[in-house]
Amino acid sequence: MRTLSKYFTSSLTSEERESLFNSLGLAELEYEFVECAGNAILSRCKPGIKKEVFLEPALLSELLAQPQQYPRVFFRHPPGHLSIEAPCPSFWNQIFPFPFCMLRFLNTEVLEVSPASFHDQLCGLRDAFLALEMKMAESEANVLSVKGLNLVLVFHFVRRKLIRVGVHPGLSPLPEEPKALGEIFGTKVGLFCLHGAVPFPQMKDAITEMIAHSLLITPQNRFREIGL
């Protein structure tokens, strides 16, 4: 089946992405996001619970001449052109709000992070989420529960490719007996539980631990899976 229609999950709203982001503790992360085309700054903001927008300066060279208060993430369009992204749902982009979702371009020529230590930390986090995605790809449906977040996320994969991320109203709160998930979805389900916000440097380890403790649930009633 191409879509997650049989599970009837609603797509993530912007508010839900923000909630997830906050629940993971990532909103505490202080950095400046600068989007520029050549030497012209297109937008500049300091993310956080209340995003702060900077209007000055107008030129990147002027900004670089200023002392750096926070780590900076530069998204650089080629001079005179805006970058084009092929339509393909990416795990990182699906679950994180702007501008954090732009970190999906980490380690590509369009994204630059300074200082190097912050870059390394972000790479560590990105690798942890990549490992999570690979683990999730082993099951058609995956459920992610985050302590403190009043939502349960459902990730739908087909042939190891992420198709959709949504919320399932019937799964909040999670059933006490994990086996019930197999019956709800009628297919193999990966269950991942994250125990709330952790400081950013420890986030990578928390996700690695979550993957290690994840459960794979196989439905008992296999007839349901094939629609009989």
């Binding site: 191409r2 879509t3 229609s5 009837f8 999950t9 609603s10 797509s11 912007s14 992405r17 989007e35 085309a37 012209a40 700054i41 297109l42 937008s43 927008v53 209007l55 000055e56 107008a58 998204f75 369009h77 005179g80 052109h81 805006l82 970058s83 084009i84 992204e85 092929a86 339509p87 749902p89 709000p97 702007f98 501008p99 979702c101 732009m102 959709r164 949504g166």
Partner: protein, 404 residues
Amino acid sequence: MKFDYLDEAPSQWGECLAKIRQAGHACIELTVLWGAHEQTRGIRDFTKSSRLRLEKLFKEVQQKGLSLELTLGFPPHNETFPSWLMGEKRQALVPLSLKEGRPQGALLTWIPFLSEENFQEGFLGFLSDVFTFVDLYRFPQGPIKRVLFDFAVYEANVNHFEDADFGRALEERYLSIDRLNANYQTLFKNFQSVASKQGFKVLCDKRPWLAAYDYKWVRNRLLSQFRECIARLERTQAVLDLVEMGGNGNTGTYAGGVIADTTLVERIGNAVLPLAIGGYVTSASIRACRLLEFLHHYAGITSPAPSVQAVLCGRYLSRKDFDSLMETLKTGVELHFPFGLPQYDEHLSCYEWHAARKEAQGLKRMISDKWGKSAIWISDPALQEDDSFFHKLENVRSYLMARH
């Protein structure tokens, strides 16, 4: 109140609608997506899959005493486009944030192109089928009161050259290539050579505002033709009184209290992005974008019934917007041009202005019998986009707030 039937189990539709009714809503907004109903090319499903049974849904809506407003077209959603269209050769290039319905910076992405033969055939067929249901369930016999179209994503397509009619539409505007060459100081041999990414890059480098105006003019014209195509469908005729095609007004005012020329930008809700024709972005459009970002940031500059309005434009302003300003002047409003007065329209004809009289505080005042007690004020000297641009703009804001 929006209701996404694709995200709800069909067995829950009745319960959800009852809750909406109990909450005091009388009307629900429903988006019917082509991509969901035609997952296989040529096979449109409105009855087989339980989640796609439109008739059942319309009956449920009526039973709950609700009325219905349908949206068709291309709103941001996973199932807006059928997947079988994704491999087509010609593609539209649009802001990713508009396609996804959430901020994504100034990134662009590809979507199916609406002038593609398979696209038109499929979408018009889908509309014919939907309009059959609309006719059956139209108010007062049924719940459907209105049908709206969402073409916003195509109103921001920066790759409309893919349309074979682009050159022809540009010719309609200029009539002869010599006129276009005269306006741009170029040496194009025909309109087909202009109607390309490279051709428009040359125009953008020569006169960014005029190139942006011309591109949007042609784009709007071709989209209007597509709307007319829909209106001519046999099935549309039966429900034409319910259908609102929507319009595209990419040039024009920005917000109440401040009138800003938006020719050089794409407006997406409250956000603005630089217009990037064929992906190519000029410094003029980046400046215009940041100027509007400033306006959005300082929303306090606006006022519901301001007696003084700021007009933010460069040397060019469309004749339509200029006429609109002159009408505004007749209502007793004073217009302040911090960047100076516009000099040319889209045909490069000059605007005529009366001599301005110097006043105190670095301002010039201009009056006319036609404007009654209204006047035009010009900063003297006009603001320049130099290093202290934002600082000066802040002064304009303070000045306007004081005048209010």
